[in-house]
């Protein structure tokens, strides 16, 4: 059951801006088992997509350090030829924006068939077409024979996202990375797409990395969750623990800023400040420190590392032990809130 599929160790992805390298993904260590959904949450700019692209080797000019062990083999910095055998076959990705992820000049059927051409060259043209129709059926597209010959602009956003999913699952990948698969879609379609992804997991026994900033999606889909902030994982645990006993200040702030349907909250929590841009990332110390200035500086570790608080529950930095929300405590330190 819990057979390990992917192990990422100390992954660091950096981009060169001018003379220097800036890490968009820094010291990420994660594992993913078969038939498991690992959710990755974080704000925009926290490095979620950069992480996903690193796994797929889709970055054009990035320096990648660390290990990505996929099925027992390190695929970080592999030659493109070798990587191309994996991509689209053993590992596949669902993209964020269905409106731009498809080639506007190619019939959607051909775009799905391309994945088969690349990895199942022994398939006859007839079988290939039948498989594409089958895939279109699987992702819930009505009149697949007709849709096969249509162009992306003739389909709605939800339909296009289904086509993108059909491309990703065409070869039954063992690892499926879904990068905000529902962000561009409206809520009713979201639910259908999530159902679809869940069924795929069950049918194909694949490991899924689900990237989102939507905690609702995480609660519904994920088995385990990794919270990402400023390129680093700040907390990892199973989904129940994360929602019931969040530790890291960032995780707690995120959960606190979700509106509660039952009421009881007058005001939504707002996390002070914004995610620092790549060039302004703090190079040392706790990266979240600048957004919780009321917490005493001594609470942070000098070089924050992941601590295993309970089996399978990891938190970065020690600041969680002294963290409180400013409105929770009467004794807000004088140098605190105003210090931002």
């Amino acid at each position: 059951m819990s057979e390990e599929l992917l192990e990422v160790k100390n992954l660091k992805t950096s981009f060169r801006i001018g003379e220097e390298h800036y890490a968009a993904v820094d010291d990420v260590t994660l594992t993913l088992n078969k038939n498991e959904v690992l959710g990755i949450v974080g704000e925009s700019g926290s490095g979620k997509s950069a992480f996903a692209f690193s796994l797929m080797g889709l970055h054009n000019r990035a320096k990648i350090e660390g290990n990505i062990n996929f099925k027992g083999e390190n695929i970080a910095n592999t030659a493109p030829g070798k990587l191309n055998k994996l991509r689209g076959d053993d590992m596949a990705m669902i993209f964020q924006d269905p409106l731009t992820a498809l080639n506007p000049l190619m019939e959607v059927g051909d775009q799905i068939a391309e994945t088969l051409i690349l990895h199942r060259s022994d398939m006859s043209q007839k079988d290939r077409k039948a498989r594409v129709i089958e895939l279109l059926n699987m992702v819930g597209i009505p009149y697949p024979e007709h849709v096969y010959g249509q162009f992306p602009h003739e389909l709605s956003g939800g339909m296009r996202q289904r086509v993108v999913i059909a491309i990703a699952i065409a070869n039954k990948p063992e690892l499926l990375i879904a990068d905000e698969p529902t962000t561009a879609l409206d809520v009713t379609i979201q639910a259908q797409i999530l159902d679809l992804i869940r069924n795929l997991k069950n049918d194909m026994n694949s490991g899924i990395i689900l990237i989102t900033h939507d905690l609702g999606v995480i609660a519904e889909m994920a088995d385990r969750v990794a919270v990402m902030y400023a390129g680093q994982i700040v907390e990892v645990s199973d989904v129940h623990t994360l929602f019931e006993n969040p530790l890291h200040p960032y995780t707690r702030s995120l959960l606190n800023s979700v509106p509660n349907a039952e009421g009881g909250q007058d005001k939504l929590h707002v996390i002070q400040g914004i995610v620092p841009s790549l060039k302004k990332l703090p190079r040392e110390g706790c990266r979240f420190a600048s957004r919780i200035p009321w917490v005493d500086a001594s609470a942070h570790e000098e070089n924050p590392v992941m601590h295993e608080i309970a089996p399978g529950h990891f938190v970065r930095c020690t600041c969680h032990s002294q963290f409180y929300f400013p409105d929770e405590s009467k004794e807000v330190q004088s140098n605190g809130v105003s210090g931002s």
Partner: protein, 321 residues
């Protein structure tokens, strides 16, 4: 599909009418009229002139004269050239064929140069190769065609003597023979290349920026994520999407050639429409000038029409079912 083309053709009609009115009215502001050149007798009196004018209908209001002119044009009667003393239709006949072949040769050279350079430049952007190619395009943008054509003529026509320096064919050859065709081609190469080397820089730059733009589109990442090797990513996804606007630009390329032929034909003494245009301006050959300008205008409208039709054929987003 056909609906689109028919609709597009219908739009062309008012364009042609407006063009012809403008050309006709502009001609009215030129000094002299259709009679000026045909007076052979210097002793003719003002009354006699006026009589002739009246008889020829030159004193009618402009719209009546316009009507006469247009009905002539539609029947292929462009009037009489009073400099060459022959019908304009006949005068234009051979030249239009010459200009047509010059344009064809120029277009072929233009694309032979533009497509590979644009692709290399776009694919390996910011490399040394790309910088050399863009360097060339900047030189091309900055160099006036008539200077460049003169330099080409001087170097390859006079210094090396590789190409003929004037005319459209070796005199004394019988039309239709193989030697005749060969000689025609030979005369076309130098003016064609000269014009293409300058005209192509637009297309090179255009293609380059299209490729750089397409390279960064999301569906290219989708293609890579499918496991498509770079060669396939380029051939199937990037080139197809980048060449589309280039194909659509083809019609406008034709329009752009008109200006080029005026210089190049004059410099290479190549008997085509461009040379005829300049001649008729300097000779004040009223009816010829009007006809040439009208034909230039028709070509421009036709170029735009062609562009739209090509685009509708190749781009599924515009294709109307």
């Amino acid at each position: 599909m056909w609906k689109f083309i028919v609709r597009r053709l219908i739009i062309t009609f008012p364009q042609l009418v407006v063009l012809s009115v403008l050309v006709f009215l502009a001609a009215q502001f030129m000094p002299g009229d259709a009679l000026t050149g045909s007076i052979g007798n210097p002793n003719i009196t003002a009354e006699q002139l006026e009589q002739r004018r009246e008889a020829l209908g030159l004193n009618d209001p402009w719209y009546v004269r316009y009507g006469d002119w247009v009905s002539g044009v539609v029947q292929g009667d462009l009037g009489e050239s009073y400099r060459f003393k022959m019908p304009v239709t006949e005068l234009i006949g051979q030249r239009i064929v010459n200009s047509f072949w010059l344009s064809v040769v120029t277009l072929i050279f233009t694309y032979i140069i533009a497509v590979p350079l644009g692709i290399l430049s776009g694919r390996y952007n910011d490399s040394l190769l790309d910088q050399s190619i863009t360097g060339y395009t900047y030189v091309g943008f900055a160099t006036p065609l008539f200077i460049f054509a003169l330099v080409m003529l001087w170097i390859f026509g006079y210094q090396f003597g590789w190409f003929p320096t004037n005319g459209s064919v070796e005199p004394g050859l019988t039309p239709g023979t193989f030697d005749y065709v060969l000689s025609k081609l030979y005369h076309l190469i130098l003016p064609g290349i000269s014009m293409a080397l300058i005209a192509t820089v637009n297309t090179v730059q255009y293609l380059r920026s299209e490729i750089i733009d397409t390279k960064q589109r999301d569906f290219i990442i989708t293609a890579r994520a499918k496991g498509a090797p770079e060669s396939r990513v380029y051939n199937r996804h990037i080139l197809r999407n980048s060449l589309l606007p280039i194909a659509a630009f083809f019609g406008f390329e034709i329009t752009g050639l008109i200006g080029g032929t005026i210089f190049v034909e004059t410099i290479f003494s190549y008997p085509g429409m461009g040379q005829l245009f300049l001649e008729s301006v300097t000779l004040r050959d009223f009816s010829t000038l009007v006809s040439v300008v009208l034909l230039f205008g028709v070509t421009a409208i036709g170029g735009a029409l062609l562009s739209d039709i090509i685009l509708s054929l190749v781009d599924p987003r515009i294709r109307i079912k």
